[in-house]
């Protein structure tokens, strides 16, 4: 580490703090921070709704809130978390901030489009929050027809328009990343010298661009059918509700890969830095990202095995679902192999990496139960599914997100956070998480259906355990917001490369200047080449 780091005088924030410099910025770093603030707000809101769900499920007879309120609560939790936190989280915040830095570019390919993405996100978020808060939405985040089109009495149209608009924010971010990664790499930065974080975001961008439009048209059809009653999914007139499920899951399954792939990219960066070692099987990890993006589009109907779809078609989808499990297994094995003979330091980001590894293992392997035709009949639509996707999303995506925020916090803000608090909150979150969601695997196997306001008495003990875990988890999530904000004012200057990490973003100052690099970097060495000492920043 540099002896004693000084806080750089001119950086991308020193230009000005007034409203105009934020709301009309074209700097990918400021847009990344705008996203950080907006999705953190969404995360808090979604988390409150989660708390309300767990509060209701403390008692089996549902006396804590009415059935209608509960339905609106779990729908709001689902919609906010899926569309407004998990999908944008790492790509919009860290992807925006870091990809140009990592490939040696001045900015993303289309800065104005990037700002438009944020405005679309805020507009879509505003409309959807209006629908959720004023009157509520009680169709579940899945909008299954004919309930959503014929029977729901809530703001389905407004929420549909909100999600439609927010969808384009995701498409434009993906488009921006694809063009930037193809066309704006610094000299010497070949495809196989790029950080795996950038590979993961390239695969995510492909899914964002090719998947999101399908849910955009599907959600639009639901809204149009509610307004004009043209019977598109209305069984009375020959419409097929299962067609809606096909179109919906065609996007919504690849969407879970949009949520997990960026975290995988983060883990590859963190595990190499804190093992001070080259990643094991670089090209296998890179190709696994692309394989997940491609095969991820072939598996969607494993959400519909019991919907009465054809048995032979279900077999095809089950086989393809098992195929998509392989790249994730390859990545996990490669990460663990990277630890072998490394020099591992247990800083906060590395603790999040271990949390990710443990939880993503359980999350991924429990997917085998749900991709399997035989066991899925019993387990689908129960709390087993709820536990599975929370292990992937909260255990995987959010652990990766928190690890990334801690790892690049010195680079973004130029300040160091308190390691002690960081490690404590990571362990607290890990414990709270497992206490919340592991009992739900058992609940699911016992047959407790999801989205139930009241449930039979014998499930209460496990539900109480889960709610207890949720309080610990909620409490654990508050910690980072305290010590990270505290570090903004009291944190000691971090210097260009506090972790001694490899990567172009660590060769410029922290926080980086507006044009990222004082002179265009030339890449000569392989990625994660820790054998050689990290290059000091040209100008501190």
């Amino acid at each position: 580490m540099s002896a004693e780091a000084t806080y750089p005088k001119d950086h991308f924030l020193s230009g000005g703090w007034d409203l105009k410099s934020w709301l009309l910025t074209k700097d990918h770093k400021r847009i990344g921070i705008l996203y950080l603030l907006s999705i953190s707000a969404m995360f808090v809101l979604g988390g409150l709704y989660a708390g309300l769900i767990r509060w209701n499920l403390l008692v089996p007879d549902g006396t804590h809130m009415s059935a209608d309120t509960y339905n609106k609560t779990f729908t709001a939790h689902g919609v906010i978390m899926v569309f407004f936190f998990l999908i944008p989280s790492i790509p919009a915040v860290l992807g925006n901030f870091l990809i140009p830095l990592m490939i040696g570019a001045k900015d993303l390919a289309f800065p104005k489009l990037n700002l438009l993405s944020w405005y679309l996100y805020m507009l879509g978020g505003g409309i959807t929050l209006y629908a959720l808060l004023v009157g509520g939405l009680e169709t579940g985040w899945t909008f299954y027809t004919p309930y959503s089109t014929v029977f729901a009495q809530s703001n389905v149209e407004i929420a549909a328009v909100g999600i439609f608009v927010a969808g384009f924010s995701s498409i434009l971010t993906g488009l921006n990343f694809i063009v930037t990664i193809h066309k704006m790499r610094a000299p010497g930065m070949t495809w196989f010298r790029m950080p795996l974080f950038v590979w993961a975001h390239y695969a995510t961008a492909i899914i964002q661009v090719l998947g999101t439009p399908v849910i955009a048209i599907t959600i639009l059809l639901v809204a149009l059918e509610r307004i004009f009653h043209f019977g598109f999914f209305d069984p009375a007139r020959g419409g097929d509700p299962i067609l809606f499920q096909h179109l919906f899951w065609f996007y919504s399954h690849p969407a879970v890969y949009i949520m997990i792939l960026p975290s995988m990219g983060v883990i590859s960066e963190l595990i190499t830095c804190f093992s001070r070692k080259r990643v094991f099987g670089y090209s296998f990890i890179a190709m696994s990202s692309l394989a997940i993006a491609a095969i991820g589009f072939l598996v969607w109907a494993h959400h519909m095995f019991v919907s009465g779809m054809a048995v032979y078609s279900a077999m095809v989808f089950s086989a393809l679902t098992y195929l998509v499990a392989i790249p994730s297994a390859i990545k996990t094995f490669n990460w663990v192999a990277t630890l072998y003979k490394g020099s591992i330091s247990w800083d906060t980001p590395m603790i999040y990496v271990f949390c990710f590894l443990g939880l993503f293992l359980i999350g991924g392997l429990t997917g085998l139960f749900l991709g399997n035709l035989g066991t899925d009949v019993h387990l689908t639509d129960t709390y087993f599914v709820v536990a599975h996707f929370h292990y992937i999303m909260v255990g995987g995506a959010i652990m990766g997100y928190l690890g990334a925020i801690h790892f690049w916090w010195p680079k973004i803000t130029g300040r160091k956070y308190s390691e002690a608090w960081g490690r404590l909150s990571a362990v607290l979150i890990f414990v709270g998480f497992n206490l919340t969601f592991f009992p739900q695997f058992v609940l699911g196997y016992l047959g407790m259906p999801r989205r139930y306001h009241v449930y039979p008495d014998e499930f209460q003990v496990l539900n109480v355990l889960s709610t207890a875990g949720a309080t610990v988890l909620g409490f654990g999530y508050l910690f980072p917001s305290f010590y990270l904000v505290y570090s903004l004012f009291r944190g000691e200057p971090a210097g260009a490369n506090p972790w001694g990490a490899k990567g172009l973003e660590w060769t410029t100052t922290s926080p980086p200047p507006t044009e990222n690099f004082h002179e265009v970097p030339v890449v000569t060495e392989e990625p994660y080449d820790y054998a050689r000492a990290p290059k000091e920043a040209a100008v501190v």
Partner: protein, 100 residues
């Protein structure tokens, strides 16, 4: 742009004529009944027209290989969406009896 290929006018006019002829073919072909192949023939004509537009009007022929990859992947995912969904509808009436 040095490597940008300026396409001669007569290529455009030729492609335009071909498209008009193929449009006439599109209508003419519905005169005959090919039984189950009606749709395939109609789609075949439409695909040839679309390929002409993509190659010549949209300069795909003169663009870098990457443009071809983008076009191919969008078509691939379109085909996945349509045909994997159809596998469910086509195989619904198939009987499950081992013999059947």
């Amino acid at each position: 742009m040095s490597e940008h290929h300026v396409v001669p006018l007569k290529v455009y006019l030729g492609v335009f004529l071909a498209l008009c002829v193929l449009t006439v073919v599109t209508v003419a072909v519905t005169g005959y009944d090919f039984g189950p192949f009606n749709l395939i023939v109609a789609l075949g004509v439409a695909i040839t027209k679309a390929t002409l537009v993509v190659l010549y009007f949209m300069h795909a022929r003169y663009s870098p290989k990457l443009t071809g990859v983008v076009i191919a992947s969008s078509i691939a995912f379109f085909v996945i969406l349509v045909f994997l969904t159809l596998t469910d509808y086509v195989s619904r009436p198939w009987p499950l009896t081992a013999a059947g």
